[in-house]
Amino acid sequence: MNASENIWPLSFLRTAGYTLVMLLNALGHVTDLYKRSRAVFTQMYVIGVESLPIACFFLMLVGMVFALQTGIELSRFNQTSLVGIIIAAGMVRELGPWMTAFVLVARVGGSMAAEIGTMKVSEEIDALDVMSINPVSFVVMPRLLGYAIMGPILTVIATCVGIAGGAIVARVQLGVQFSDFIRNARNGVEPLDIYWGALKSLVFSLTAATVACSYGMRTSGGAVGVGAASRNTVVVSLTLIVFFNYLLTSFYRIVKTLITGA
């Protein structure tokens, strides 16, 4: 309402501060798991199981297109059989984690913010407060945990499907035998790549869930406010995800040179 709220550095700091405190608060409330297990399982189902088909479909097509494009370039050097290396490495390190994260933000992030925002504007969050039930424990923690568990699992599955999509395209359209593809794919991926992909996915999942809960919990102003919370969640999550992805890839490079150089 007052002028200071409209100065963006201040409102940015306030938002970031609230979000960080909420995240730490939620992590502290993981100890309430024994009485929130049902809610966590519900969230795992909604976030993970229900998103599985669309995530797999997306990643499969991504793998297929990726294989086609690399195939076009590799054929210029008569190296089409190497397509497996590039597909596997690219999918595991990059496209798998963040394409899955994008699918999840679109399918889950916005609606999570809207759901919490609706609870906020319809006094449900207040009701929890006056019943001395911590809303962060009751609402935020199960969502955060469900997202953080299912995001990486979904990423692993969808990435495998994506690589399989690439293999099919390689076989059908590029004429690369499955055995060649798989052998090359194995060469392309080290254990570190898999850990790093999972780490990325965990960071993206926590980011998206935290942003969604933060915007949801700070919703005000009725239906319009709920819409804004949902929209801001999608925009901010995606921006943070590509940003964190760049940071994590940079780290990956440093770690990799340390390991191979040592």
């Binding site: 309402m1 007052n2 009485k35 519900t42 759901e115 609706t118 609870m119 319809s122 006094e123 449900e124 207040d126 009701a127 929890l128 407060d129 006056v130 019943m131 001395s132 039930i133 911590n134």
Partner: protein, 459 residues
């Protein structure tokens, strides 16, 4: 100002020390002074009813009491402990003393009615599953919701949500129960049951209740003391009889539903702002400008659109206008409910004496197409534009729901203004009506025992 805080005889034995004390509480919200020197106390075992116009800060008062909002200044004490300086953990402990019924019920959307009532028991009691089920069954039967226990909040009506919220509020046998408009949205029979429930909680268990309500009949029935909230403070606190016989114009205006104790438009509009914000708008002409026209200083000549407060939109136009003392020669062009159903937008085509009117606020005015005033030497000329404007008004999106429910009344120039006593009033509205007309309404029946098994079960 007849300020009194004497405890009525019938509950003297049950009433003890103050459990809730507001002292000179000030709070500004969105640039408006919502609480402005609010001072009152609630004694142990009494039912304290807060009445007042909607949107003035009654819910805000309750939110302060449970620490959901912090005052800018002043002291709020609950059982002699200052709550405004409490930490999160202290607040959480303090809140366990309270059961709160929110205005909308505030049920958790993904839990059934049963699970909602179970929630506080799961969190804060060590009862076995079987014992919990017994308590829930008892509370849900108390509010007539047992058959609907497995429904989700989205599947039940607003009144049912409120009753479920009530069952949840009393699930843990709180010592202090706050009710935010418990009977609005309920049919008269259920509303009466809720009133009886409030009384039986007090009489059998010594529960202290704070009730916000618009329903004066209910207020007289349940209250030990009533406080009239106005402009951020209590302008009168007294027993139901003292309020009924109040001489304070604002109180009379409220308790008679606008028939008596005229409230000047200026004073009404002054809530929070100190001036009438809609006055400058071209579609609302004030001639002469908002000056008090009578010796009592409580009427205003104005033209344009006004919002009438507290008159259910489904009442007829004649009732709308007479209730607000609009003089007979005023030409009422149309009335329209505003979206929250608590106010009615009324088009006044010529200068009219409007009592208890509220200038349209800025947001409502945005929906009004400004048009040139059409007054020629004091006489109203009805132009096409006038009609268009009213039609435009009726098309504003926000109004659609309530408007279609109640229709719109447009009166022809020739048709004489008349009060038609034969106009059908919905049955549930007549229940409230007699109070406004009779100084001494018939007392309600003696408190009925709502649930014979209650004392043992609740203990």
């Amino acid at each position: 100002m007849a300020q009194t805080s004497e405890i009525p005889a019938r509950t003297k034995a049950a009433v003890g020390a103050p459990v809730v004390e507001f002292t000179d509480v000030h709070t500004k919200l969105g640039g408006r002074q919502i609480l402005d020197g609010l001072t009152f106390d609630v004694r142990k075992g009494e039912t304290f009813v807060i009445i007042g116009y909607s949107g003035t800060g009654k819910s805000v008062t309750l939110r302060h009491l449970v620490g959901l909002m912090q005052p800018d200044a002043g002291s709020i004490r609950v059982e002699n402990e200052e709550i405004t300086t409490m930490s999160g953990r202290e607040l959480a402990d303090m809140r366990r003393k309270f059961g709160v019924l929110f205005q909308s019920g505030a049920l958790i959307a993904w839990l059934t009615v049963f699970e909602n009532v179970e929630l506080p028991l799961l969190e804060h009691s060590r009862h076995s599953r079987k014992r919990r089920a017994e308590i829930i069954e008892e509370k849900l039967k108390l509010v007539n919701l047992w058959p609907d226990k497995d429904k989700y909040p989205a599947e039940i009506s607003g009144g049912m949500k409120k009753r479920a919220g009530l069952a949840r509020a009393i699930a843990l046998d709180a010592q202090i129960v706050l009710y935010d408009e418990p009977s609005s949205g309920l049919d008269p029979v259920i509303a009466n049951e809720v009133d009886k429930l409030i009384n039986s909680l007090r009489d059998k268990l010594g529960v202290t209740s704070i009730v916000v309500t618009h329903d004066m009949e209910s207020a007289y029935f349940i209250a030990d003391r009533i406080g009239m909230f106005y402009k951020g403070r209590m302008i009168q606190i007294g027993t139901p009889d003292e309020i009924r016989n109040s001489t304070i114009p604002e109180v009379r205006h409220f308790i008679t539903g606008g028939k008596e104790g005229a409230l000047s438009m200026r004073s009404h509009a002054a809530i929070g702002t100190g001036r009438a914000p809609g006055m400058e708008h071209p579609s609302m002409r004030v001639e002469p400008p908002a000056a008090p026209q009578t010796s009592s200083g409580d009427t205003t000549i104005m033209q344009g659109f006004v919002l009438l407060d507290e008159i259910p939109p489904e009442r007829s136009r004649a009732e709308q206008t007479t209730a607000h003392g609009i003089s007979g020669d005023a030409k009422v062009r149309g009335t329209q409910p505003v979206e929250d159903g608590e106010k009615t937008r009324l088009g006044v085509a010529s200068d009219a004496t409007v009592r208890g009117a509220q200038p349209v606020n800025a947001r409502d005015l945005e929906e009004v197409t400004p048009n040139a005033p059409t007054t020629l030497s004091g006489r109203q000329v009805v132009t096409e534009e006038d009609d268009d404007e009213i039609v435009d008004l009726s098309k504003t999106e926000e109004d659609t729901q309530s408007r279609t429910a109640s229709g719109r009344y447009v009166m022809d120039e020739e048709e004489p203004e008349q009060e038609d006593s034969s106009i059908a009033v919905p049955a549930d509205k007549t229940a409230i009506e007699p109070l406004a007309l009779e100084p001494e309404p018939a007392p309600k029946p003696v408190v009925q025992d709502l649930s014979p098994e209650q004392p043992e079960e609740l203990k």
